[in-house]
Symmetry: C2
Subunit: 193 residues, 2 copies
Amino acid sequence: MEKTRRTTDLAILGVLAQGGPMSGYDIKAYIDLSISQFWGESFGQIYPALKGLEADGLVTRRADRASPRDRAVYEVTKRGRRLLAAWLAEPPAPERPRNETILKTFLGDQAPPGAIRGHLEAYAERAEARVARLREQEREVRRTDAGTRALPFAIATIRAGIHLARARAAWAREAIALIENLSQGETSDDRHA
Amino acid sequence: MEKTRRTTDLAILGVLAQGGPMSGYDIKAYIDLSISQFWGESFGQIYPALKGLEADGLVTRRADRASPRDRAVYEVTKRGRRLLAAWLAEPPAPERPRNETILKTFLGDQAPPGAIRGHLEAYAERAEARVARLREQEREVRRTDAGTRALPFAIATIRAGIHLARARAAWAREAIALIENLSQGETSDDRHA
DNA sequence: TTTGGCATGTAATCCGTTACATGATTAG
DNA sequence: CTAATCATGTAACGGATTACATGCCAAA
């Protein structure tokens, strides 16, 4: 029986397996760049985690001679790869999101007039901006990663961001209308779903 | 300067303001029923939180005489309502989701063949089932809450669930295709956005 | 030369879930 | 009678963020 690892450990293992050997600092940058929308790790997690992973023989650590800096580079071991693969094969734990914007919307009746509308407006704008950015990123990644085996997965991740951001924007716009029109219904768009 | 409260406190205050006086047990049930998709609270949070809220004069506690059980009923005070309104007017803290399904998809290249596909299939099915359930719930709430001031906000919350679940389903289906077709591109649906 | 980025770590704190503990009431 | 539900709480634990602390290197 493998001891149960926290997800942080597996995420780090995954990044190392996917992106090749790198430092704790690099891992952070890699995550921030590629999946920050859906996953985050702080240094306060990464460095202790790397220690633990090394202690358990899942990664190896070596000093980076090439760099003029005091850099440690980590690499996944075979055991590490096996553990990662096994974890990836397990059904993902269900998310339990906590969305403050939606909570505040739900409680909108208790809010000062206009406040929720403002939140929703900002929410929609952020989501729309994100869609634009991600579309750009998709094009870029299709170019730069063309041919790599990881490409479809990288694209899938970006597409997730696009789909979800689009949904957020559409929802927020709809919610604004819904709240504006108060009780005179007919705002559902079930027909064209 | 108001001391900074954890979101749990405000959520409880909000539920009490919205749903009327109720017990800790009721608060849990109310949340589970109405916004469980976007917000959760456990008893381990609720009961201590209620104590704190009472100590600070944001809610009042009284024994429920009507019930044959040993029940405490909480009610928001004026100060509580003021604090709630002020919090609702503040811009919501940005969410930082951790989506294990998407993380695993991103790392798909490291997974045993077919594993990710299976996760995505299940993800899509769950999302589709949720859409169906929420549509039903929307119809129901429109009926039962018709005319109340909170109706548009309740509907908006359900609509959020529908939009997001729909996006998840669509994404998962698309991602399956994307991964299946591996490197032979042309899966983006940017045109009809 | 001083700012920003690279680089690594620890400690405090917060927050949340889970498990545990207890007991009454009600429906089957 | 007995299982489920109502009802309230505490304690242990785990996991994550933030702040703190330190220092070197490169570019402006």
